[in-house]
Each structure stands twice: as structure tokens, then as C-alpha cells.
């Protein structure tokens, strides 16, 4: 096996990988909490959300492999691409930091993904539509759970308010990328396979604002938005995450696990 997988990134393969990478990287981040959450009840919740996302990633990688037709498995994609080959948005690779950051990152992403998968239920691609039907329910619950925490942290103590406000400020510049689509993706939108991401943004803002209002938080202005993840230009955090995620496969290459 080559050290880094070369993927034939046709528009649909690339499209699947972008969604799968979002789910895997965010799921991996949540799984880092396991055993260390602020309360045991929340350990259960974070693990459940992580499992939802890892499950979504697996379906999408498997489908990407089928579409690509080169015999690549879910694990080939997950374990044998380096950070330049990963296609996730920058938001999901950001470090967990404190519970406030983790919750805000999850809330902003889930608020997007919930709308996204709802729209994808109507995809002309049957496999993606099926993944969407399952994922939409999962993400709706992630929104429900994280919104409750955003509200409690925002309207809790001075310390929690300060922490969640800081987390919001930190995460916000990464939200623009969620709604970006390049030429390869626009073609899929025209074919009715992909959802038009830009059309989701107003609803996303409305939904997010409603929760932030209740949390006594101020919705940030859209300033400069960070991007690059979709084409493999990541933050420095992703490389470390992948080093860990891929460690065993790279230590003993060519093995079945």
C-alpha cells in the first residue's frame, strides 16, 4: 500500500469525501472526551454523538469507494490519506479546548448538518438520500442537545457565559466554509445530486440566532471567514489528529485489523 492514497477525485467522490471527512474528524474529536467529560451523564451524550458521526463517515466512505471503483475501503480513505488529502471543513478539526468550545463547535456544525441532510433527503442519488434520511435525525438531536447546553452556559454563571462567548467568537470565522461550494460541487447541484449549500445559510442564521438570543449571547458579525479545508489546506491541528488516528495502521502496514 502506498504511504498516501491517491484518490481519483471525480466530483461525486470528492463530494462524498468532504462529507465523510467532516463526520469522521468531528466524531474523532468528540471521542477524545471519552472518560473525561464534566459529568458522567455528559460522557454518555458525547460518545453517542461521536458514534453517530463515525457511522455517517463509514457509510459515506464506503459509497465513495464504490463510486471511485478502485476497490478502496472506508479504512483506506480514513487511514491512508494525509492532511493534504483530507477534505473536511476547518471547523471540525479545531481542538476540543474546554467543554464550551466543544459544545459551540458541535452546535454550529450540527445546526448546519441538520439542514443539510434534510435537503439531501431529496437527492437524486439514492445512496446519499438514504444516508441523509438517517443522518438528518441524528443531527437534529445533536442540535437539540447542544442548544440546551449553549443556553445553559450562556445564561448560567459569569464564568460559563464568558467561556461560551469566547468559544462562539473562536468558532465563528470557520462557519463560512460550511456553505462554500466549488465548481465541481456546483455541477452536482445542477444535477440534483447535491444540495445547494448557499441556500441553507439564511435558515441556519435564523436557527442559530434564536438559540444565541436565548443564551444571552450576541451573534457575531460575519467578518473574514477562514477556508481551505475542502481543498486540503488545513490548520496545523489536523496533522496531529491524523498522526494519532492512523498510528497503528502505519506502524504495521498491510495488516487486517
Amino acid at each position: 500500500m502506498a504511504k498516501t492514497l491517491r484518490v481519483n477525485e471525480t466530483p461525486l467522490v470528492l463530494y462524498c469525501l468532504r462529507r465523510a471527512d467532516d463526520a469522521l474528524i468531528l466524531g474523532h474529536r468528540l471521542s477524545e472526551w471519552c472518560g473525561h467529560a464534566p459529568m458522567m451523564e455528559e460522557d454518555m451524550a458525547l460518545a453517542n454523538m461521536a458514534l453517530d458521526l463515525i457511522g455517517q463517515a463509514r457509510s459515506l466512505y464506503t459509497y465513495a469507494g464504490q463510486v471511485e471503483g478502485e476497490g478502496h475501503t472506508e479504512d483506506d480513505f480514513a487511514y491512508w490519506r494525509d492532511e493534504r488529502g483530507y477534505r473536511n471543513a476547518l471547523l471540525v478539526e479545531q481542538e476540543n479546548d474546554d467543554f464550551a468550545r466543544t459544545i459551540m463547535r458541535q452546535f454550529l456544525y450540527a445546526s448546519f448538518a441538520d439542514l443539510y441532510w434534510q435537503a439531501m433527503v431529496k437527492s437524486k442519488d439514492e445512496t446519499l438520500a438514504a444516508v441523509a434520511a438517517k443522518s438528518e435525525k441524528e443531527m437534529a438531536y445533536h442540535v437539540r442537545h447542544t442548544a440546551e447546553w449553549v443556553i445553559r452556559l450562556g445564561d448560567g454563571t459569569d464564568e460559563s457565559h464568558e467561556r461560551i462567548a469566547k468559544a462562539l467568537e473562536y468558532c465563528w470565522p470557520f462557519t463560512g466554509e460550511l456553505f462554500e461550494a466549488d465548481e465541481s460541487e456546483k455541477g452536482l447541484v445542477a444535477e440534483g445530486i447535491a444540495a445547494d449549500l448557499s441556500s441553507l445559510r439564511d435558515q441556519w442564521r435564523t436557527n442559530v440566532k434564536a438559540v444565541l438570543d436565548e443564551a444571552t449571547l450576541t451573534m457575531p458579525q460575519d467578518g473574514w471567514m477562514q477556508k481551505g479545508g475542502r481543498s486540503g489546506r488545513h490548520s496545523e491541528y489536523l496533522g496531529h489528529l491524523l498522526t494519532e488516528l492512523q498510528h497503528v495502521q502505519h506502524t504495521v502496514p498491510g495488516a487486517v485489523w
Binding site: 471521542s31 472518560g35 464534566p38 457511522g55 463509514r58 480514513a78 460559563s160 488516528l245 497503528v248
Partner: protein, 329 residues
């Protein structure tokens, strides 16, 4: 076992003068296999013994998340990653069921957790060993969970209702844990040389600590049979240990792995596998806090608890605000 430190000393410290008639009818209920429920009268020593045993069991589940949690982010396939995360999450759930059962005896969870964090409470010695390779995830599932099941199945019939009900739930859910561990070992032992080596190395390191999980030998333990009379404990340490060895030897043979015990041999007469001498000094040291990871495990739990304090305070502050707003409206 998960509650091993307790096996040798049921609580007899408080020699309260219990009403003899009540004691007698209590014992009669137990003998009749009735379940004792939270609000029922029970001897103070029964309450104390169970509180300690159930909370130790709960602590073990929660501390037990750490050694396996150490490999979730490094699991070598997405399938294994999901299974391991689900398994470790189950352990947290089991800890929660057990804390809930312990609380019905009158000690709050906060108090019980505090006993763990301050090092006053014990938990299973097995979780004070480090997980050094991916194969440890296989060995733990196969051996540690295998040993735990041996102990937990009889606890489903424990005389205390909430404990027995929690254990029924735990056993039902844990049936996948040992299987996922063994499947992992099968894959490794059928894999390439590096994988086989990894599997054998894990077995070498985990075998003896697993045998220690059952607690001190019957001959050496000060175990009075009070726990047995109260039907909290239904088999002795050595009985369970033997059962575990007998079940595990053929499983190791199937894997083509060697158990690290030159004295292991089958006794045709008894039908049991005889094993070598367990290093009880090592066991004593691990229980006393000198295992390779005791300090790390406690530090990790303390860190999570301390760093979560502001979150818990926020949730309480919000609940209070909401109550006040409702009252004012």
C-alpha cells in the same frame, strides 16, 4: 473482581445491637430468596457492606474507562473504533446504573465519587495496569471482561433488589464486550508476525493481573461467610478463578497463543486446569496504590471532575434562574 478489595472483609465494625427478632426475619427473607428493597429494614452492616461493594463496582466501571479510552483515538479501523467507543461508553453507563443502585442505600453519589477522588475508596486492581498496544484492547475484552462476567452473573441474584436489577442490565449489555475483545484477538492471532507478537505480548502482560481480579485465595482471606449468608456473594474467590481458568485455556489454545504459566496443566481427575502460583505481593501493592497507573488513574478522574466544576455550576445556576423566573411570572 470489580469489587475484590471488599471480598475479604464484610462490614462487622458497627456492632449495633440490632433487634434480634428483626435480624431473624431479615435472614429468613434472604433464605427464602426474597429481594431486599431500599426502604426495607436491614442490618446496618448489610447496608454498609453493600454500599461499599456497589460503589467499588461503580468506581471500577468509571476508572475502567481510562485504560481502554487510551486507544479509542488510535483504533486501527473505523469498525473497531466504533465498537471500542461504544464499549467504553457502556462502562460509563454501567457505572451510572451502579451509583444509582448504591444511592438507594442512603449515601449520595457525590459522596461516593468524593471517596474515589480522594483515594479513600478502592476499585479493581486491573485498571492500574497500562494499555501499551492495540492488542491490549483485545486482551482486556477477552480476559478482563471475561473475568468480570464470571463474577457478575451470580450478582444478578444478589439479595439486594436494586443491585441485582442493575447487574441484570449490565450483564445483558456486556455480552458483546467479551466477544468484541475475543474477535479482536482472533484477528490479531491470524494476522502477520507483528500482530501475533502483539497478541502474545498482551496476553503475557494481562494474564496474571486478570487472575488477581478474583481477589485473595480463599485460604488466605479473612472472609467470614457473612456475605455468603446474606447472598451478596454466591461463590468463593477461588471457585470463580478456577471457573475462569477452565473457560479461558481452550480459548487461548484456539488462538494459538501460550498462557504465560509453565505450571499450567490439566488434571484428569478433577477435570480442572491447575495454574501456577499467583504473585500476591504484586496484588497487595497494586491495591495499596503502588500499581503502575494508580496515580495516573486518580489524577485523570480528579482532573475531569475539577475541570467540569464550572459546567455543573452553570447548569445549576441556570436551573435556579429558570425557577425564579417561573415563580416571578
Amino acid at each position: 473482581m470489580y469489587t475484590q478489595a471488599l471480598n475479604n472483609a464484610p462490614e462487622t465494625g458497627e456492632r449495633q445491637v440490632e433487634d434480634a427478632a428483626r435480624m431473624e426475619s431479615f435472614q429468613a427473607r434472604i433464605d427464602a430468596e426474597e429481594r431486599i428493597e431500599p426502604n426495607d429494614w436491614m442490618p446496618a452492616a448489610y447496608r454498609k457492606t453493600l454500599t461499599r461493594q456497589i460503589s467499588q463496582h461503580a468506581h471500577s466501571e468509571i476508572v475502567g474507562m481510562l485504560p481502554e479510552g487510551n486507544w479509542i483515538t488510535r483504533a486501527p479501523s473505523l469498525r473497531r473504533k466504533a465498537a471500542l467507543l461504544a464499549k467504553v461508553q457502556d462502562e460509563c453507563g454501567h457505572g451510572l446504573y451502579l451509583y444509582a443502585a448504591a444511592e438507594t442505600l442512603g449515601t449520595s453519589r457525590e459522596e461516593l465519587v468524593d471517596q474515589l477522588l480522594t483515594g479513600k475508596a478502592k476499585y479493581s486492581s486491573i485498571f492500574n495496569y497500562p494499555t501499551l498496544t492495540w492488542a491490549d484492547m483485545g486482551a482486556i475484552g477477552w480476559l478482563v471482561d471475561g473475568a468480570a462476567i464470571m463474577n457478575q452473573i451470580p450478582l444478578c441474584r444478589c439479595s439486594y433488589g436494586p443491585y441485582s436489577r442493575a447487574m441484570i442490565r449490565v450483564c445483558k449489555e456486556e455480552s458483546f464486550h467479551q466477544r468484541q475483545g475475543y474477535e479482536n484477538m482472533v484477528t490479531l492471532s491470524k494476522g502477520n508476525e507483528a500482530q501475533k507478537e502483539m497478541a502474545q505480548d498482551a496476553l503475557n502482560r494481562w494474564w496474571w493481573p486478570c487472575l488477581m481480579m478474583f481477589g485473595p485465595p480463599d485460604a488466605a482471606s479473612q472472609h467470614s461467610d457473612q456475605s455468603t449468608r446474606w447472598k451478596i456473594k454466591r461463590f468463593s474467590n477461588d471457585e470463580l478463578r478456577q471457573k475462569f481458568v477452565d473457560a479461558t485455556v481452550p480459548q487461548a489454545q484456539y488462538l494459538g497463543l501460550t498462557l504465560p504459566d509453565p505450571d499450567l496443566k490439566f488434571n484428569e481427575e478433577t477435570g480442572h486446569w491447575e495454574y501456577g502460583v499467583i504473585d500476591w505481593e504484586e496484588f497487595k501493592q497494586v491495591i495499596a496504590g503502588n500499581g503502575p497507573c494508580n496515580r495516573d488513574r486518580l489524577a485523570a478522574r480528579n482532573k475531569a471532575h475539577a475541570e467540569g466544576a464550572w459546567v455543573r455550576e452553570a447548569a445549576l445556576a441556570f436551573a435556579e434562574k429558570r425557577r425564579a423566573r417561573k415563580a416571578a411570572a
